[in-house]
Symmetry: D2
Subunit: 462 residues, 4 copies
Amino acid sequence: MLYDKNNLNIAYIGGGSRGWAWNLMKDLAVDEEISGTVRLYDINQEAARANEKIGNMLSERPDVSGKWQYKAMDSLKEALTGTDFVIISILPGSFEEMASDVHLPEEYGIYQSVGDTVGPGGLVRALRTIPMFVEIAEAIKAYSPEAWVINYTNPMTLCTKTLYQVFPGIKAFGCCHEVFSTQKIMAEMLKDMKGIAGIDREDIKVNVIGINHFTWLNSATYKGEDLLPLYREFTEKYAEEGYQIETEADQVRNSYFNSYNKVKFDLFRRYGLVAAAGDRHLAEFCPPWYLKNPEVAKEWGFGLTPVSWRVKDLKDKMEKSSRFLSGEEQMELKHSGEEGIKQIKALVGLGDLVTNVNLPNMGQIQGLPLGAVVETNAVFSHNSIRPVSAGQLPEEIYSLVIRHVVNQETIIRAAFSKDKDLAFKAFANDPLVNISIKDARNLFERMLSNTSEYLPGWEIEK
Amino acid sequence: MLYDKNNLNIAYIGGGSRGWAWNLMKDLAVDEEISGTVRLYDINQEAARANEKIGNMLSERPDVSGKWQYKAMDSLKEALTGTDFVIISILPGSFEEMASDVHLPEEYGIYQSVGDTVGPGGLVRALRTIPMFVEIAEAIKAYSPEAWVINYTNPMTLCTKTLYQVFPGIKAFGCCHEVFSTQKIMAEMLKDMKGIAGIDREDIKVNVIGINHFTWLNSATYKGEDLLPLYREFTEKYAEEGYQIETEADQVRNSYFNSYNKVKFDLFRRYGLVAAAGDRHLAEFCPPWYLKNPEVAKEWGFGLTPVSWRVKDLKDKMEKSSRFLSGEEQMELKHSGEEGIKQIKALVGLGDLVTNVNLPNMGQIQGLPLGAVVETNAVFSHNSIRPVSAGQLPEEIYSLVIRHVVNQETIIRAAFSKDKDLAFKAFANDPLVNISIKDARNLFERMLSNTSEYLPGWEIEK
Amino acid sequence: MLYDKNNLNIAYIGGGSRGWAWNLMKDLAVDEEISGTVRLYDINQEAARANEKIGNMLSERPDVSGKWQYKAMDSLKEALTGTDFVIISILPGSFEEMASDVHLPEEYGIYQSVGDTVGPGGLVRALRTIPMFVEIAEAIKAYSPEAWVINYTNPMTLCTKTLYQVFPGIKAFGCCHEVFSTQKIMAEMLKDMKGIAGIDREDIKVNVIGINHFTWLNSATYKGEDLLPLYREFTEKYAEEGYQIETEADQVRNSYFNSYNKVKFDLFRRYGLVAAAGDRHLAEFCPPWYLKNPEVAKEWGFGLTPVSWRVKDLKDKMEKSSRFLSGEEQMELKHSGEEGIKQIKALVGLGDLVTNVNLPNMGQIQGLPLGAVVETNAVFSHNSIRPVSAGQLPEEIYSLVIRHVVNQETIIRAAFSKDKDLAFKAFANDPLVNISIKDARNLFERMLSNTSEYLPGWEIEK
Amino acid sequence: MLYDKNNLNIAYIGGGSRGWAWNLMKDLAVDEEISGTVRLYDINQEAARANEKIGNMLSERPDVSGKWQYKAMDSLKEALTGTDFVIISILPGSFEEMASDVHLPEEYGIYQSVGDTVGPGGLVRALRTIPMFVEIAEAIKAYSPEAWVINYTNPMTLCTKTLYQVFPGIKAFGCCHEVFSTQKIMAEMLKDMKGIAGIDREDIKVNVIGINHFTWLNSATYKGEDLLPLYREFTEKYAEEGYQIETEADQVRNSYFNSYNKVKFDLFRRYGLVAAAGDRHLAEFCPPWYLKNPEVAKEWGFGLTPVSWRVKDLKDKMEKSSRFLSGEEQMELKHSGEEGIKQIKALVGLGDLVTNVNLPNMGQIQGLPLGAVVETNAVFSHNSIRPVSAGQLPEEIYSLVIRHVVNQETIIRAAFSKDKDLAFKAFANDPLVNISIKDARNLFERMLSNTSEYLPGWEIEK
């Protein structure tokens, strides 16, 4: 694949977004090595066109080094044909469905901190999202089978799996920044415990093993030194009070995203491996140790993110979009911390990169089923991604993880066959669904009914 | 192995028992094909000698066809040397330790219906029992390496595993009657639903797959007809009210052993396979769906067996023993329903038998680790036992089962290495231990302390 | 399945045969427990009608206990609809193709003793036979999906595999008598070495593990005693001169079927397990240790069976058929030694049976791919067959066996996709094809061309 | 591990060698980033001391950038204590044993082109070498457990496996340059077929999968373009005449090392993957397709290397050594093409590297046994090596490879248990040992007898 680094084509599905799309714009703007065209496709065409304008305004700024042309596209076909890369970052459905996913289970005593990955909310979101990914995968197969496809959409595992299920030859992978935060905690730890300041998170080398949002590190080093003994001391030191990294983003957001990493520390004490995702995600994968009720969650120091916050956040961003369009505000030029551009550059041939991604298991995690989408490191090089052998999960963690892997396989089969009873098997088997089978069925039916608009062909009572 | 069917030797370890030993006596007494000597060994020598006398009194009765000689033996060496069969049925420790196993967790909100297999109680009982089985296995290796060894002691899986771990060439297997009850339910079902009365449980042919006390049937037939569709109707019919088989034994016992099979029916509705153990056992293997608290258990129609009942029961049996010895009471001649004698006869060469046993996995359950002790059918023939291929567990059940398989492997490693932290990993990973890690540790330490007499070499605070 | 043992239906595909069909008639004739109808279907309708008459003449004889009605059927549909059992025993193609399979490779220095299982001949025969089995499997699926299907046709593994590939729910198994001969050798051995005469081959209990015609015994007992130590002595005693069992059948046949069992003994000396098929079959699975050329085969004491013999044999049997029809000759009433009727009786519910069969691997042989057709013991009971766990092949044998398992998987994929290049991969990978790749291709093309009549849809140069 | 790049310690076991040791000296001499001390240990102390002098003379030269100090050490303990790296490159035994390994089998019609990896010669060499590696591994465990250990000695797989068997925590890997030659052929191919000259072999990116000397590439790219279609054309073009890369080294050597790559091309035509080792090695892993006799080997265009050549070559090098010591000749400053120094630099933290190495399988090759030493790419970074997931071997190649993997496991068990019969099982199972079992045993005994000096504790007839 001879990529022309000055004339790359990136198709962005969900290109009307005000979060990830803007991050991409910024990251492209500050990069000096590549340029080309970004095709913005969104079912909200207006939003895509707004972003087209915002992106082009940015490219015209003299302080911007990476000059890219932004084009809103009217169809997947147009967006995909001839593209080198595809980025998928969509919101499946509206906040209305998300509110049902996250909050309806609360009536049954089931609390979720995010509700987009596992648990009742993650499952129903998956059922809604999978048909969208079927459509996208078919379009990629038809119009850009050689393109590299980067997915950011949750539930990460099932979205990525759907792409491969529909088009086994796809060159797709899923990206998630949760591991980065854990690297940052390690960098903070070196400051706190050893007085070594200013360490970049990239300098913390980790071996990643697990499934998205329930990822683990069985090795972490700094300059070749094993960090796990120090992490043991660190977790003991902060097990009770917790340890919070205050980042700018957190300030902008608010307490709903707070995390004192106490879940992470507890899991380390239990199992001896570093859990490498935010506490809000980790808690959802376990039996209700940390999510028994809002009080317990509070004791563990993490917030439950209500959908009302997301509604408010979107309103803020739409206002910001207007200010960008009117020129009232300018986009701040600063790297987002995401790795998408780095990965694209490695694939284009501009230097190898080892980082964590979600890919079908081909042996990189020994003991998990082949074909299940797992998260490990991979080597990115010219037109190639190869997972790094991560080893095996310790048995105790394996028994927590396999439950979700099995559930995810069931969910995808249910989604493809539109089989409600099969989907319910997975629902009732989720560790958070710690209620009677009758209540579980009742909740399940209500949740499906609330999202039925996105489940054509299913037999759902309304 | 040319067994002399008229001169067989059976060593009974735990031969002072008033339950299983008496059942053996009765079953031998009513059998007309084999005879020989039963060597009774027990750390309670007095009890063994009482049973020697009771057994020999029985053999002298004119209405008894199977004439056996009973001999109390003073050492394992004497009991084992030259024996053809070894039966192991011991009580590990006293009721005091059992009370701690079963009831101490209640202070922490953890309820157990039996407490001898999994859960906190099962784990601590295992730690206490494994060293005893190490001693027995070493003695068998030394004195009767060619003998067939039948284990009845719980925790079945870990006791059997210990025998193989110490002496890989051992010819041992574990027997459990829980599957029989499920066959009886099917026989009752045929009466209830089809009006076919008088079916023997042996006529219900089943394919057994699972681990002891968490065993499943993926096939059940009567005269070649598939019973699962009927069982589906049956479970729907009785899901709410439950269905109780009133057996004589249950009357003798009492409500602590009641079962309305509602857990069994619920598991069928969840997973589509027949759970083949009593509800009291099944409930302990699941997340606290059925054992959240005593009220929930009651709603599900099964009792929690208190150790106080066992104390009372023993007292009754000791009085019965006195009456036997004085001739005041005579043992009732009736087959116990256990299969030990049938198995012995098949091994001696008196006809093949297919029945369920616990053996190390050599592939009979695809997908579970090789070497883990699993329960399936096996073909018993002359000096040979071969497991029957049971297939694979459905994924959803697999994810429940593997958690215990993994825990059991951890427990045995912990027991052999006397590693308290490792044992605690398994403890905290048990589905019933749905409490904070700190409380879990506290409970664990107290339980170990209560059983420390049986844990030589462990570092335990008293 | 409530079978009416006095009114069973057996469909015989290949029912015009003069070998296996007559054996079936005899076995049915001497059995007193079952009766019913045998439907004879054959593409050679005349032959089927002749057998109809021969069968019915037999049933009319007063000395015959098992009275069956024989009916020639004109279509698969008629033959199958409503049948309880299906027997498949066909000759795929004519002796012309068989001559090409067996003898053309000799021009290239490749010698085959049978040429119907593996080697160049076995492969080409498989390609020719698989489409026939596709048709049969589809008919069974359509007309008798609940019937038990017994296959006797070679190549056994691939015929049985085809049935399952086309109709996964089929209740089919493959039967082969090769293991019986090895049991007979063991019985002879007990006479020769221990002076114990008159042992039935059924009394030699064996554990069967392998693939058809390359099957092994890792356990053999007589009355519970391990026979392997004696077999070691026996093989040492006869390694040089060989040991021949002269059976009546062999006399009738001739030197082409001779076997001194020296290959069997050599394989035992190499690997320590008993190879359980005739030397003529075993030799074809190995590198050309025993089949380098006809002289080497002669040294090893086994004959290469020429197709000319089969032509002659058929002529003899057709004359015999005429004599049967004219009443000039009467069928001799004697059990054939095959187990088909025993198996049918067990499936009907007339008593369990443990014997060896070919079935898709569900774990009965640990380490071979799931789904590959393997040969082990199985428990036959009322409407049920369950394979017995056979264990694992020792690594050295595994490496010989896996080569054929892999080849067979390739052959079946090639046959289903009509992919000549894929078929050639398997051809060139056969251990007997020890020639240059160019010669191999040339031979392959010529062999395909000779059998092209049976390969519709393939691109073959004629 | 905070390595001091200006003060590294490298222990060289076999440090008296005139081939690999001199290559190391040259590669260190031309490198500008690292320096330190090389400790030379050899059972031939005189040779080590000569190399000490030669190395230090080199370091004194003004045209040398990498200044290293060379020290001959008298014991493993001295050489290892405190070292950062260990290089193992020894000649196990003398040319006398090697002559027996390579040439004695010729009396039995078995021809070997190298005789140091598999085949009768490779097996006997392994038996001789393993005890030496046991000693080395124990010394590393005792004196330098944290050091990185690079093995160059053949048989690579079994030497590396021995290190891990004795000391599971060892940080060892095996290096081999055979893949590099295949990359060079691809570079030549681009010149020949596309006119693109001057490509470095490092620019050909390959995915490596297999076992040492029988390694395969399932992907090869240049600037992101798939090279396999071109390689297909290339192999067709040169299948008959072959294609020879004339390198300087080949000229210095002679026809014994010639290779026309016809074996490589033939294997590609058979299996569709690129075999990535020299033809002399590849031929030894196959059935005697290419090594039937010297004429066949000649037709395939590769030479059989006689030990007489090695004797002559050593004589030449010893004379060269004298000239170095006397100053009559100067070492030529030129990179050897080996990657050892690059790997050391990556481990020290001077930049990541992806290259092929031999490591125990932890899943990098799906389908081969865990723990078997396999060859794949790995990521070298600061104090870390992680294998890259290579995928699965196609089934047809798998069946060739597994035979050797199985044999190698048998050999190592035989060597550790000094079990002659077990070793013979592997011997007789080697694809080249295509002779009668009796001749095989005779050859085996003679070969063992010839190497018995290095097999203490074995029962060998002399």
